[in-house]
């Protein structure tokens, strides 16, 4: 069953076409990564999925329903890109308020709020105001609020922006756990390592368009170019021509068979101080597809 269906979605802000004919589907229990630089149209796509925007063209379906209708939204949990919390309320108050907006009350409300606090690792800070939390704690709470009503679809819009490494790890682990429990997740990010680590499939998006959609391995197979060799050279025989330019004793170049190339250079008498071989990754896939780096 397709939990999320986006079909030829077009969404404009005035004359700016933020999303331009995007289509994808997410089957139940899968995690899809929406990878693209800032301004690609990821958040706009998510806003269409929660019924915040009405599509100009095309359609979106969540659990078979139109998110414009209130009932459809019951099954969606969203952690917006910008922290969406009441800073003057405590963590507990935020969770129980948003749980109520989904109709929870009584014992179930208490159970779910307790679960969410545990999920966010905020049990001992539950009664403190959010404006006393660290950036990482707020991020964790932002995700916990998305889960408090036990949705079947989770939309995470750049959940790790501005987070310290420790919190980022916590967030990764908890999302991986949710994934294992069978939650369907849409995960947008402009960090390719995150996408590669968590997602079953990855959609690469740029300037409103979906450029490719597949598993990481397939994407690299199709669009990834050569491996990269980065080496510090100690000495080179004078008659040997290096395959790249030597800058301050360092050389970087691409090649299809890196190990053979290293063996060849070594046989010619090139002495390496350090050697690094990078296989093709999403970064290079993105570079191939757009001609730009992800982190422009």
């Amino acid at each position: 069953m397709r939990v999320i269906t986006v079909c030829s979605l077009e969404q404009s802000y005035g004359s700016l076409k933020a999303v331009d004919g995007v289509s994808f589907e997410i089957p139940r229990g899968q995690t899809l990564g929406l990878l693209g630089p800032n301004g690609a149209g990821k958040s706009t796509t998510i806003h269409a999925l929660i019924g915040l925007l009405k599509p100009d063209r095309g359609e979106v379906r969540v659990m078979g329903g139109d998110p414009w209708h209130a009932e459809t939204r019951r099954s969606i949990g969203i952690a917006p890109q910008s922290l969406s919390l009441y800073e003057e309320l405590t963590g507990y108050e935020n969770l129980s308020f948003f749980a109520r907006t989904f109709g929870l009350s009584g014992g179930r409300l208490r159970d779910r709020v307790g679960w969410s606090l545990k999920f966010a690792g905020l049990e001992d800070r539950a009664r403190h105001r959010v404006d006393t939390y660290s950036g990482g704690m707020k991020r964790r709470l932002n995700i916990a609020v998305a889960l408090v009503h036990q949705p079947s679809v989770l939309l995470l819009d750049e959940p790790t922006v501005g987070v310290d490494p420790q919190s980022r790890n916590h967030i990764f682990e908890s999302i991986a756990e949710l994934k294992n429990e069978g939650l369907t997740i849409l995960y947008t990010t402009h960090y390719m390592e995150e996408a590669a680590r968590l997602c079953d499939r990855i959609a690469i998006m740029d300037r409103g368009k979906l450029l490719a959609l597949d598993s990481v391995a397939a994407l690299i197979r199709q669009h990834g170019c050569a491996s990269q060799i980065v080496a510090e050279i100690e000495s080179t025989p004078s008659d040997v021509q290096l395959p790249g330019q030597l800058i301050e004793g360092r050389i970087q170049f691409a090649c299809d068979r890196p190990l053979e190339e290293v063996a060849r250079l070594s046989a010619l008498g090139v002495q390496f101080q350090s050697l690094q071989i990078k296989g093709p990754d999403l970064e290079s896939v993105f570079l191939m597809l757009t001609g730009r780096s992800l982190r422009d």
Partner: protein
């Protein structure tokens, strides 16, 4: 999810924001106390005695007893006077009013079954509120006369024999009634005579007689001192405490603080991203707006109630709590509408706050939050009709000290309700239609 939960969340947020809480409660209380203390020079906190000129045209034992009863009343200063001089002094506002005890007053006053002598009462028209109070005092004094009559039962005798004569000479054919009636009056006379004798023997103190009957016939005497009822002098005469003017003003400052806080709160939900969450929940946009409206309504009612409690503590006494409740409700509806309209005039918190306070200040100045409308120059008094605050203050004052009737309250109530409904319509229709977040 109940709209109530949305509203409670907003109230919690509002009162956790110290600045907003200050503008809603702290600042208004300060303004109320400050202006109230300034007001003490204008209208004395403790009302002086009513200076009443009394013209006794009867000069009987009963009229003297009546005047004595009036003198005992702490609220009245009785000054014996001549009619013309008394009228003149009331016209010149030297006396609060005058009272004419007509010739023949002593003959029937205090006999409840007789046509009561007409006491003429003339009041300074600007103090007609006290006139009503004086009428009450006259009733009291007459009540004492009734007691006085019972202290001197023999006074009844001529009346009884007159009544018996009237019955006997009446042209009724009913002989039985005449006989029974005659016998009744005879025995009544007899009883009174013996009671009187018994009372003298026992030496009962006539002053201890309890009085409970109140009956008098008061006729208004027109004192043609013309005072424009819209003048500040005429209006302030009804003021009873120095807080009467400053507290309605203070209530409105609190109302303005509430609407400033709430109109910015919609923008704050937008900038803080919580609006995205609310809109992605199953709540409809109308639902979200109703939550805001209810929260603002409750905040306004709360502010007015807190001011009222402080006012009551200081001695302010509303003439009608029902009317005050109605005025507060209309005020809340009116300003909720204004709040919703202001909230769509900007997209950021700062933007809305800026626009909101400018609108608030204009409404406040024109509407009498700083200088009461009645003390304003004529031009500004005319302009003030465009400020909803004027109508709100007027209705609240109407319930606290102006002693407005429901029909006098109808105009300000209608204006406020219309402003509220129109504002609600404008605000919600724009907010609900806004598609971008």
């Amino acid at each position: 999810m109940h709209v109530v939960h949305l509203a409670l969340k907003d109230l919690k947020l509002l009162f956790r924001n110290r600045m907003a809480a200050f503008f809603i409660l702290g600042f208004p209380v300060m303004m109320g106390l400050f202006f109230g203390m300034m007001m003490s020079g204008m209208s004395s906190g403790k009302r002086g005695k009513m200076e009443i000129a009394v013209i006794d045209q009867d000069n009987s034992r009963i009229s003297a007893r009546f005047i004595e009863a009036l003198r005992k009343n702490e609220n009245i200063n009785v000054i014996a006077d001549e009619l013309e001089h008394a009228k003149e002094s009331v016209r010149k506002a030297q006396r609060t009013g005058l009272l004419v005890i007509p010739n023949g007053f002593g003959e029937t006053a205090g006999f409840m079954w007789e046509l009561q002598p007409e006491i003429e009462l003339g009041m300074d028209p600007s103090r007609s509120a006290e006139g009503a109070m004086l009428q009450g005092f006259i009733m009291q004094a007459t009540g004492e006369l009734i007691g006085e009559r019972f202290n001197h039962p023999q006074d009844f005798l001529p009346h009884i024999s007159k009544a018996k004569e009237a019955l006997m000479t009446s042209n009724t054919d009913n002989l039985l009634m005449k006989q029974v009636g005659g016998a009744f009056f005879d025995s009544l006379s007899h009883m009174i005579e013996s009671a009187d004798k018994w009372q003298r023997q026992a030496g009962t103190n006539p002053d201890n007689q309890p009085t409970s009957m109140h009956f008098a016939n008061v006729k208004s005497l027109d004192i043609s001192r013309h005072i424009d009822p819209s003048s500040a002098e005429a209006q302030t005469k009804k003021i009873r405490t120095r807080w009467d003017i400053s507290f309605p003003q203070a209530m409105l400052w609190g109302v303005l603080g509430s609407i400033a806080g709430f109109s910015a709160s919609i923008a704050r939900e937008r900038t803080s991203g919580t609006l995205v969450r609310l809109q992605s929940s199953p709540l409809s946009r109308m639902h979200i707006m109703l939550g805001k409206a209810l929260a603002c309504f409750l905040a306004v009612i709360l502010v007015i109630s807190v001011m009222l409690v402080i006012g009551l503590f200081l001695g302010m006494r509303p003439t009608s709590f029902t009317k005050l409740a109605a005025a507060s409700g209309c005020t809340a509806i009116c300003f909720v509408g204004i709040m919703l309209t202001i909230s769509v005039l900007g997209k950021t918190e700062q933007g809305v706050e800026g626009v909101g306070w400018s609108i608030n200040m204009v409404m406040a100045m024109l509407g009498g939050c700083m200088i009461p409308v009645m003390f304003m120059p004529a031009v500004f008094q005319k302009l003030s009709v465009f400020s909803p605050i004027r109508w709100s203050i007027l209705s609240i004052e109407g319930a606290i000290w102006r002693d407005f009737s429901w029909s006098e309250l109808a105009l300000p109530f209608t204006i406020m309700l219309v402003v509220g409904i129109v504002g609600f319509g404008i605000g919600t229709s724009i907010l609900v239609r806004r598609t971008t977040v």
